[in-house]
């Protein structure tokens, strides 16, 4: 495990319904783009609905980015981080987009997704993975983005001594769901109603919501896909995008907005609502009640920023996989290394002794 220091980039934990929406895949790509710029780290990836195909998809995408070069779908590159997923022995529910995506084949008829995940025990227990990841981050140096059911967060809250840990480590918590200030949409976060209620009641830090309306107002521009990802004809993100719907289409992007806000909070991309309290109903209804001591806010689209944000979405989500950052050492060791390097450089500059005279 890489040593973290207080200067290590923010560790982003992404709890995602990967493959349920195009947005979920794009948000993961955006996260990798930002990580490639060393603005954050992909600290943990957990999937919040019980379908092993989603874990395989996640593993394949991770392998692509871990390869750092070329198509990278050969399956020889280990996943950058273990994939957590909520487990269920029941047959998974029908997920049309996921089914289309995982069935994608390359020009030679082979499936393009290569993954080592075959069984549940090839994946991690999500709440333990999140807990362990929190412990590996300095205080206030972790962020969490959630897109999809609240299942994993609720089980996380069941762990002993977890509340102080979350409070200490999390800098920001963003949930990509809801219609603000009020409205109805397909249930996402609330599709596990008891879990969602538990999280809204007991989560110890402030929560920022990235609503569906924001995702519609600033979608990912579908027209850019062919050009932006053209450097790799087998790009997994582009392939997943094409599988989403008949091209071209603009994909609503609340999860992308959530990731972008979590990593670049001070860039002024979005406006923030006043504090308040969010409540959900099981049929997908959202209601925001302003309250001075409320711990919830939601993101608001700023018309002046829409174009800028869409550009960032395209640029970062389609960024070429970057080589991993150099191994970071604890400050004391880093200093030693620097001193060694300086000494070596000084030695190099010293003029060599006169060569022995030929006999």
């Amino acid at each position: 495990m890489q040593f973290t220091t207080p200067e290590t980039p923010l560790g982003l934990m992404f709890d995602v319904n990967l493959g349920m929406t195009t947005d979920s895949v794009l948000a993961l790509a955006l996260l990798h783009g930002l990580a490639g710029k060393q603005e954050c780290r992909v600290a943990s990836l957990t999937i919040n609905y019980p379908d092993l195909r989603a874990a395989r998809l996640c593993d394949a995408i991770e392998r692509y980015y871990a390869s750092a070069t070329g198509p990278g779908l050969g399956g020889s590159v280990p996943a950058a981080v273990p994939i957590g997923i909520v487990e269920s022995r029941k047959a998974p529910a029908d997920q049309p987009l996921l089914a289309r995506t995982v069935a994608l084949k390359d020009g030679e008829g082979s499936k393009i997704w290569a993954s080592v995940i075959e069984k549940w025990n090839d994946t991690a227990i999500p709440e333990i993975l999140i807990r362990n990841t929190l412990m590996a981050n300095f205080d206030g140096r972790a962020a969490m983005v959630v897109s999809g059911p609240a299942t994993n967060l609720a089980t996380l809250l069941n762990l002993p001594d977890i509340i102080p840990l979350i409070s200490a480590k999390l800098k920001v918590m963003v949930i990509a769901d809801g219609e603000f200030p009020s409205g109805k949409s397909d249930p996402g976060f609330m599709s596990d109603l008891p879990a969602a209620k538990r999280v809204l009641a007991d989560w110890p830090t402030p929560i920022v919501f990235s609503g569906r309306e924001l995702g519609r107002q600033i979608p990912f521009p579908g027209a850019s896909v062919e050009k932006a990802f053209s450097y790799n004809p087998s790009h997994p993100i582009a392939a997943a995008y094409r599988a989403g719907r008949e091209m071209p289409y603009d994909a609503p992007a609340p999860a992308m907005a959530a990731v972008l806000y979590a990593v670049r909070r001070n860039e002024g991309y979005f406006k923030l609502s006043e504090p308040g309290v969010v409540s959900f109903s099981s049929d997908g209804g959202t209601e925001f009640r302003p309250s001075a001591d409320g711990r919830h806010r939601y993101l608001i689209a700023d018309p002046a920023q829409v174009e800028r944000i869409a550009k960032v979405y395209v640029e970062m989500a389609s960024a070429k996989p970057a080589a991993p950052p150099p191994r970071r050492l604890p400050p004391a060791l880093q200093k030693l290394e620097e001193e060694k390097a300086a000494a070596a450089a000084a030695k190099k500059q010293t003029p060599p002794a006169d060569p022995p005279k030929p006999r």
């Binding site: 025990n121 994946t123 227990i125 362990n132």
Partner: protein
């Protein structure tokens, strides 16, 4: 009904002048009119045998789940006992990871192994946590002579820096009575013997050598009582008692050999009195005594630090003059990898021999091994990578009948090792809600198919 058999109390000792010998579990200790339901079950015992520096995973991993079939090279010595072991996969000690403390995996992994907590990175004001063997020992130790036993093989200094700023107290102890109080393992077989069976440990080596000239077997001291007891026992119990007393005699003879070793080998070397020169002999001696201690209910809980984390012990007896720890940082160099595997196999051979002894001892309708939970484990998975997930873990025994061994069980990734401890605490009759970073008891050890 005429009852001719004489009952013997469970806590019966053979007493002589200067010696007290506890008895193993005998049939005569079962009340004559007992039914299956009322028959007292032998107690469940637990022990940990800890090996350092991880294992060579290429030669350790089974690569399959379910019924144990072909064993890997390192597990091969356990082939005769594969119906008595479960091989557990994917257990993780998060507390052994760097988290925010930088290098020092060896120091962390041994200190956190049984405590489940990350130790404070320090060389002076040490702090870990109470290890779970101590918690169990305090609860089940009332009917035994020793709440717990702590054994080891390698010299264990307790101060100084043993790994990147971690005190040697972290690498050289497994058991912790309190968060700042480790329990150093007993290394000297004679000291252990005398702790278990006699009281002349305080004598100097010279005085002991003089005394040994006139030394009588501890069994000589209790022979009158043993003879009298034997007359009251049935043939099965008579044989059991004879075997038990013979095993004590065997240990005495081993100790005598060890004493000879320590006198005859390398006079210039300050070797602790009574420690065998040979690793396998030392391992055998310690585990023989532990077996007797379990058999006679002197203790029910033990930890055995086979060698310490970061050890540079050499194994010339199997042709390896290189230090163990440096070898594990082989960076894939084939000849070094091979040596690591050889050491791993050598350790496993000693463990397998011990398991065989536990299995050979009958306890009612079961064996001593059936009533044990013996964990062979390491705090690092792969010594070259210093990884703390998928820790090598072998559980031998049936835990008093609650485990179904003979399988490879692979848990989900990140499953806390402390979940295994929680399960063992439950089987020891010490149900606990939470220990270390546990998230719940382990499923599958009882035979439930997790695949």
């Amino acid at each position: 009904m005429i009852i001719t058999r004489k009952a013997v109390a469970r806590r019966t000792f053979l007493r002589g002048v200067g010696a007290t010998v506890a008895l193993p579990f005998l049939d005569a200790m079962v009340p004559a009119l007992a039914t299956a339901a009322t028959t007292p079950k032998p107690p469940v015992r637990m022990a940990f045998a800890y090996v350092p520096n991880g294992l060579n995973f290429k030669d350790y991993k089974l690569g399959y789940e379910g019924k144990l079939e072909k064993l890997s090279r390192i597990l091969q010595p356990l082939e005769p006992y594969k119906q008595d072991i479960n091989v557990l996969g994917n257990l993780t000690h998060n507390a052994g990871r760097a988290l925010l403390d930088g290098p020092g995996d060896h120091g962390r992994c041994s200190a956190s192994y049984l405590t489940g907590l990350q130790p404070r990175k320090t060389m002076s004001d040490i702090k870990a946590g109470v290890s779970f063997d101590q918690i169990v020992g305090q609860h089940v130790g009332a009917g035994t002579s020793f709440n717990t036993l702590e054994l080891g093989i390698e010299d264990a200094r307790q101060a100084g820096d043993c790994d990147s700023g971690y005190s040697c107290a972290y690498t050289n102890n497994l058991a912790w009575r309190a968060e700042a109080q480790p329990l150093p393992p007993t290394l000297n077989p004679r000291a252990l013997f005398e702790r278990l069976f006699g009281d002349d440990a305080a004598l100097s080596p010279e005085a002991r050598r003089r005394r040994n000239l006139y030394r009588r077997s501890v069994l000589d001291l209790v022979q009158d009582e043993a003879r009298q007891l034997s007359r009251d026992l049935g043939p099965t119990d008579q044989r059991k008692l004879d075997e038990y007393l013979s095993s004590i005699r065997e240990i005495e003879l081993q100790l005598a050999r060890a004493d000879k070793d320590s006198i005859s080998i390398d006079p210039g070397f300050e070797k602790p009195y009574g420690i065998p020169a040979d690793f396998a002999e030392h391992f055998s001696l310690m585990t023989n005594m532990l077996t007797v201690a379990f058999q006679s209910n002197l203790t029910r809980v033990a930890t055995f630090l086979v060698t310490r984390e970061g050890t540079s012990r050499t194994y010339r007896e199997i042709g390896i003059p290189d230090g163990h720890h440096p070898l594990t940082h082989h960076r894939g160099q084939e000849d070094l990898v091979e040596k690591v595997s050889k050491i791993n196999v050598y350790h496993m051979q000693q463990f397998a021999t011990w398991i065989g002894k536990l299995k050979a001892i009958k306890e009612g309708d079961s064996t001593l091994l059936d009533n044990c939970m013996i964990v062979y484990g390491a705090g690092l998975a792969d010594g070259n990578r210093h990884s703390h997930e998928d820790l090598p873990t072998i559980m031998a025994g049936r835990g008093g009948g609650s485990f179904q061994p003979g399988r490879s069980i692979v848990y989900r990734k990140e499953t806390p090792m402390c979940n295994l401890f929680l399960t063992m605490m439950d089987r020891m009759g010490v149900p606990t809600e939470h220990f270390g970073d546990s998230s719940g008891a382990l499923c599958g050890l009882d035979g439930l198919d997790l695949t």
